[in-house]
């Protein structure tokens, strides 16, 4: 049975999604979705266990041998992504009151679960497949589902945000497809492992380099749009702000992470570090962009009045950390980036759930409405403080772990100023986090509003993620071991 896990991770949510539609019932569809997510989590953990202890998994779809058939190929990095996505889905899906859900438009709860499962399926598919065209298919599956999820938010602005995300996302998808086409034309294969060998032959020989570079540019730009690399991030703040808060939690914690994984695969897996950083010198472009993202978006976050929008800008800044770690092209920096995938997923997912908790009681995500909320909802806002500390990168939280490796990576690459800039930019996080903390804890709450803390069904998932930021901030063994192994694989050195 366990040899079929890679494909079941995709098939199970794919089948469950239409069943949700047929059920046409909020609670029943929720139970189904939660069960699917939990089953996937168990399978993903088993897969991770297999690849960390033994060999990489290669699964031939329909028994067709690679490179002709579609191959699902799982190494430490894929399995790690599978675990991230399924963990977040398993925590976010049960989040919410069973009877009613005020954060999603009424009557559409089963639609929410169907779209959620499709999005989940697409993200898992990207993470598990070893076929580049198959990646594109799943990219579109997840994107289309996420447009629907964002559109479920209350108010017309959600629809507009979903539409502009749709436009940007489609451009990104098209770029990606053009890149895939060009590569296929040059090499005649779509299997990523096979592509890596053939592209390397081409780049080493120096033949047809122009098409390869064009393919590279299209692929990287396409993924960068999906990943919201600065300055291609314009769609992200609106999408995260107007989506239902728990959708933002899921997307912020998973969608960008999977896109980042894709960037890693394209850069290191297909084209190879020597070509990307040696011949093309991508870091010359990527490092300034990353630093700009870290500073300009952190600064933008400081001036936001809406907490969801603030967290969205912070996400773009955090993506800057990841792309920066990748551009160091060192094992330590890459370890930091990969570790940050999981660490930031926990932190940002947890923080968006906090926002969802408050929005559930308060019906507002505006900062000024949050004055004194810490007195009314102490458990919820305590979670915000812990998550905020992790965002800043205070020692003892996951944010510190990633920063530790990122800075050491920058020092390894002999980039002392960059290392210092990383530290300075985290000071900006202090400002935007503390702004909220001060208003929530040290302002008097308005007298006329009597609200209670969020119910347990909301608090528990929130605290699971927030608790994780502290737990994995100290017990780094698991994350760092896997991240190190994945970094080693990407750089082609024995871990």
């Amino acid at each position: 049975m366990s040899e079929h896990y890679p494909v079941l991770l995709v098939v199970l949510p794919l089948l469950a999604a239409p069943i949700c539609l047929l059920l046409r019932h909020g609670t029943a569809s929720r139970i189904l979705a939660v069960l699917v997510a939990w089953t996937c989590l168990a399978m993903a953990l088993e897969v991770l266990n297999q690849v960390t202890s033994g060999e990489n998994i290669s699964y031939m779809l329909g028994g067709w041998a690679a490179p002709y058939g579609i191959e699902y190929r799982v190494d430490a990095l894929n399995a790690y992504l599978l675990v991230i996505v399924s963990v977040i889905a398993s925590v976010v899906l049960p989040f919410g009151e069973t009877s009613s859900d005020l954060t999603v438009r009424t009557g559409s709860l089963y639609l929410y679960h169907a779209a959620f499962l499709l999005c989940f399926c697409g993200l898992m598919g990207i993470a598990v497949t070893g076929d580049l065209f198959n990646v594109f298919v799943f990219l579109e599956v997840s994107s289309l589902a996420s447009y629907a999820l964002i559109g479920l938010g209350k108010g017309r602005r959600a629809l507009r945000a979903a539409f502009s995300y749709l436009v940007m996302g489609t451009i990104g998808g098209t770029f990606f497809l053009i890149g895939v086409g060009l590569l296929y034309q040059k090499t005649g294969t779509l299997n990523m492992a096979d592509l890596a060998v053939r592209v390397r032959e081409l780049t080493d020989a120096g033949v047809g380099l122009r098409s390869v570079i064009a393919a590279f540019a299209f692929l990287v730009t396409g993924v960068s749009i999906k990943l919201a690399v600065f300055p291609l991030h314009q769609w992200l703040p609106n999408a995260y702000t107007h989506a239902p808060a728990k959708v933002s939690a899921f997307l912020a914690a998973t969608a960008t992470k999977v896109s980042f994984y894709l960037l890693l695969r394209v850069l290191f897996g297909i084209f190879g570090a020597a070509f990307v950083f040696g011949t093309l010198r991508l870091h010359v472009l990527l490092v300034p962009l990353s630093i700009l993202a870290m500073f300009s978006c952190s600064l933008a976050a400081i001036y936001q009045r809406d907490i969801k929008r603030m967290l969205a800008y912070s996400s773009i800044a955090q993506i800057g950390y990841m792309t920066l770690g990748l551009s160091t092209n060192t094992e330590l920096g890459l370890t930091g980036s990969i570790a940050h995938l999981f660490n930031h997923a926990l932190t940002k997912g947890g923080l968006f759930l906090v926002v969802a908790c408050v929005a559930f009681r308060l019906q507002s995500t505006k900062l000024e409405d949050w004055s004194g909320i810490g007195r009314r909802m102490p458990w919820t806002m305590a979670a915000f403080v812990v998550g905020g500390l992790s965002l800043i990168g205070v020692p003892g939280t996951v944010g510190f772990v990633s920063k530790w490796y990122l800075v050491l990576g920058a020092l390894d690459a002999e980039w002392l100023p960059v290392a210092i800039l990383i530290l300075f930019s985290s000071l900006l996080a202090v400002v935007y986090v503390w702004r909220v903390v001060e208003i929530a804890w040290f302002r008097e709450p308005p007298d006329d509003v009597e609200i209670k803390d969020a119910p347990l069904s909301l608090l528990l998932p929130t605290w699971i993620l927030i608790g994780g930021t502290v737990f994995f901030g100290l017990y780094t063994e698991i994350t760092i071991e896997v991240a190190r192994k994945a970094a080693g694989l990407l750089l082609g050195v024995a871990p």
């Binding site: 050491l408 290392a419 530290l423 202090v430 040290f442 780094t476």
Partner: protein, 508 residues
């Protein structure tokens, strides 16, 4: 009890205290007399926690005096970097000071907080206990990572204490407090730690004789030392000293224990520890790496003494005096001779005892006489003889005259300066002592020798000269007399302190 269990218990004791206070104090409304019994129980929990903690620290002291280095390793956080504790003499001394002075402070705090009708006392006592936990973590840290972890915890746990009043002024002060301390610690201190890890290949352990020798030399050492000494913002080296006067908006027990003892001493302790166990005294001496730091410390020392002279608000004056006295310890570290390190280490304890006494007195004067400014304190010595007597003894301790403990530490510091041949620093030390006479003795003089006069208190209320007030609650008076007596006791125990600290000078 095995040593590792003992360390774990010592660290856990204040945390358990914090949890107990939080649970008991959940329903306490400090404005409501009906919940007085629950409040008494809550405050009792703090005293018990402080007593237990101090008892456990004394147990560790016995081990350390016997030459042992009790240690506790929790888990490996990064490759080769553990969350781990090891008690050596310098950390032992800091732990003794922090835990020991927590007892009188917790007693004093009840008298003060109730006398001052403060609200949210539960939050206050919880954060206080967490801050002590953080201070003990700093004292026992085995490597730079563990130290940094607790250093940041100390910053964030004391923030709610600084902003306790919740007023706009308190919030602004809290912003400066958090801003300066987090900025310096992340931008410089963390940067220095990571650079150290880079140069040593991941070794961050505190090792006798240092870990940098042979790994790095020349300009990077200057850079590292600068990053460390300015990065430890809690040591309040100029120009990163602004947070300390701002922190004075906190209730006086916080100023007394945290901003005269635990927090600031954590800063100078960290500087000393880094100089001794990361750089190594001989390494610094050999390359003359720390001479510039002597000058910075000397400047801070004199400049803040002069600022103290100009301050009329008593707590602000004491805060600047603290900045000046902290620089004595940084100067001791920077001179990097055996005597100066000893003197710096001893001064941690000596200054703590003297300054906590002065703050206790200042707090009593605020609560019971409603006076905050020196210019209004004419004649208070007649109404509050015990308080002002203790103030006199505490002042002598800050100035460094026998029979006060700090005469020893200043003696060793001067010897250290002489050892390096830098006579100018002896002159600086003496000049600063004179300045401290200048800003402390007039207060005592006013209190005892001038007739009372009319004044306006902090709420703008007018008082006539004949207003009746007196010594106030014994919960306040007894602790401050005890710490004043402690200043004298430390003079007697000076030798014992020196013997405790001597092993830190062994290089291997």
């Amino acid at each position: 009890m095995t040593p590792d269990v003992l360390i774990a218990l010592t660290l856990v004791a204040p945390l358990v205290g914090a949890i107990a206070v939080a649970i008991i104090g959940r329903k306490v409304d400090d404005a409501d007399p009906a919940s007085r019994p629950a409040a008494n129980l809550r405050d009792g929990a703090t005293v018990v926690a402080s007593l237990v903690t101090f008892g456990l620290v004394l147990n560790i002291l016995q081990l350390v005096q016997g030459g042992a280095r009790p240690s506790l390793e929790l888990l490996e956080v990064f490759h080769g970097v553990h969350l781990a504790f090891e008690v050596e003499p310098l950390g032992m001394l800091f732990a003794l000071v922090a835990a020991g002075l927590w007892i009188p402070t917790s007693i004093y705090a009840f008298g003060y907080m109730r006398g001052h009708h403060e609200i949210n006392q539960t939050r206050f006592f919880v954060c206080f206990a967490v801050a002590i936990f953080a201070a003990l973590g700093i004292a026992f840290a085995r490597n730079l990572f563990t130290l940094f972890l607790f250093y940041e915890l100390l910053t964030f746990s004391t923030y709610p204490l600084v902003t306790h009043a919740g007023t706009e002024k308190a919030k602004r002060a809290g912003r400066v407090y958090l801003g300066v301390l987090v900025f310096t610690s992340v931008a410089f201190f963390l940067c220095a730690i990571l650079l150290t890890a880079h140069y040593t290949g991941g070794d961050l352990e505190f090792t006798p004789g240092g870990i940098l020798e042979g790994k790095v030399e020349g300009t990077p050492v200057f850079v590292l030392l600068a990053l460390f000494s300015f990065g430890v913002g809690k040591a309040a080296l100029m120009p990163f000293h602004r947070w300390l006067p701002n922190a004075m908006v906190a209730p006086t027990p916080v100023s007394a224990l945290l901003h005269a003892v635990a927090v600031v001493k954590a800063g100078v302790f960290t500087v000393l520890k880094i100089v001794v166990y990361v750089f190594g005294i001989d390494f610094l001496q050999a390359g003359d790496y720390s001479v510039w730091l002597c000058w910075v410390a000397a400047f801070t020392l004199l400049a803040s003494s002069m600022v103290a002279l100009t301050k009329d608000n008593l707590k602000a004056r004491l805060a600047y005096s603290t900045i000046s006295q902290l620089s004595y310890i940084v100067l001791g570290a920077a001179l990097a001779t055996h005597h100066s390190i000893l003197g710096g280490g001893m001064h941690i304890a000596m200054h703590a005892m003297g300054k906590i006494t002065l703050f206790f007195c200042a707090g009593s004067i605020i609560v019971f006489a409603h006076k905050t400014h020196v210019s209004t304190m004419d004649g208070i010595g007649r109404r509050m003889p015990w308080t002002m007597g203790a103030f006199f003894l505490g002042s002598l301790c800050i100035i460094g005259l026998p029979p006060m403990g700090s005469s020893w530490s200043k003696w060793f510091l001067a010897l250290g300066a002489a050892e390096t041949g830098q006579w100018v620093f002896i002159a600086v030390l003496m000049l600063s002592s004179l300045l401290s006479i200048g800003y402390l003795m007039p207060i005592v003089g006013r209190a005892f020798f001038r007739p009372p006069k009319a004044w306006t208190d902090e709420d703008g209320k007018e008082h006539v000269a004949q207003t009746e007030y007196s010594e106030g609650s014994p919960l306040c008076t007894v602790p401050l007399c005890l710490t004043a007596a402690g200043c004298v006791a430390l003079f007697v125990w000076g030798g014992a302190l020196r013997d405790l600290l001597l092993p830190i000078l062994e290089t291997r």
